[in-house]
Symmetry: C2
Subunit: 249 residues, 2 copies
């Protein structure tokens, strides 16, 4: 079995199929159509199990059953299969959130006070960083060591804030990153004057208006984790700490 195939099986499992179901479905797509024996020959699914697994897939709407002897199975068209799975997902999501929408209406407006939050995952940290930077009124600082953490979305918001009259400072000691910073209109690029030695785990730093901050780290596995706080004493203190340490201003 190829790596591509295992990955496809894994993905189908995340979509709600069992591994047998995924294997049978893929095998039938490969074969065009076939009997239980055909499927068992080309996969490691025991023939005796193919019948029930295919039955289950038929109930999902992912294949047709041909009443013959031997029974033949035929998968639906690929695009139809995508549509079936997507419709199923949308339906389940609507069902799930119908209730949640009701119960959360009551608490929609709450104040964020002296809180610091943890966020995991590059994409979500990216979103949060953009949110934070967008809220800058007077001054913002964005710093990173890794080029891949300077996303297009962040680049755009830096330029946008600079155009809006916000003092926009970009910091890095990495040449690649500095070059990209330099391409951004209205953004002033700086290098920290006192390089820290052991920063091989640092990710990004975003600071806005002396009262909002996000700080992320990247672990050995490449996973990014961030803490952030806004309009809190904690944020203010942290900002002062970082700016003093990195000699940015």
């Amino acid at each position: 079995m190829t790596a591509d195939e295992s990955e496809a099986i894994d993905a189908f499992e995340h979509l709600g199929l069992t591994s047998y179901e995924a294997k049978v479905f893929i095998a039938l797509q490969r074969l065009g159509s076939g009997t239980a024996r055909d499927v068992a020959r080309t996969t490691d699914v025991p023939r005796s199990q193919v019948y029930s697994v295919a039955e289950s897939l038929a109930e999902h709407g992912l294949l047709d059953v041909q009443q013959a002897s031997p029974i033949r199975y035929r998968p639906v068209d690929i695009e139809d299969a995508r549509t079936i799975l997507r419709d199923r997902f949308e339906h389940e999501q609507d069902r799930a959130f119908e209730f949640v929408d009701q119960v959360s209406e009551a608490v929609a407006d709450e104040e964020t006070q002296e809180d610091i939050w943890t966020v995991r995952g590059r994409d979500r940290i990216d979103d949060r960083t953009v949110d934070l930077l967008s809220s800058a009124d007077e001054r913002l600082v964005f710093a990173t060591r890794l080029p891949e953490l300077l996303t297009d979305a962040i680049g755009h918001v830096l330029e946008e804030r600079a155009r809006a009259g916000v003092e926009t400072i970009a910091v890095s000691r990495t040449d690649t990153v500095c070059d990209r910073f330099a391409e951004l209109e209205g953004v002033s690029v700086e290098s920290p004057t006192r390089p820290r030695t052991d920063d091989h785990r640092s990710g990004r730093i975003a600071i806005v208006d002396d009262d909002g901050i996000l700080l992320s780290v990247v672990d050995d596995g490449g996973e990014e984790t961030a803490i952030w706080s806004s309009e809190s004493l904690f944020a203010t203190v942290l900002i002062q700490l970082i700016e003093a340490n990195q000699h940015v201003r």
Copy 2:
């Protein structure tokens, strides 16, 4: 726990969460934010489990973790949660079909020969019916006893084929259905001359060009099952059988 809530939990499970994860997520949406104890009080999830479950939800990106004592959890905005789940679904689907797209290209063009297929489920039968009717070149017949089986999609394809010069015949003994048929431009409505007595399980019949047929039944539970065949001797014979029996032409 209300019925709505159990349904929401069930739906979340279909979206890939465990029941604990669903319960904690819903509870936090209700609370706005809260500690493990808060969650345990309002659900039947043991407090000791809330920590790991919340951790897992944080990895899914569905809530933030507040580093404090006690730890506070805050769910993401509902719309953000929908987006996260949808993105996750699309991503998994792409991953799943990337491989399938490759392996099935080779067998894309195959001839359908002397085959008869079984299809389950109202929606899929609906799709298949529309497909079949769309392929009519000279003549098509559509018949049903139940108004709910005459869907808009089928109505549209009947009108469209009639406009294209195809002899379009709609058959029913149910007044409601006949009325709807009558609204369709260019469709001639007929009633079977020899009513069969025990047709309480019949669903729909679709016939095209004397060589394509779909025939469905509805069981006591309301489940619809269909067989269909196209360009096969079987189809031809079946069509003759039905038309002779129902005296349609």
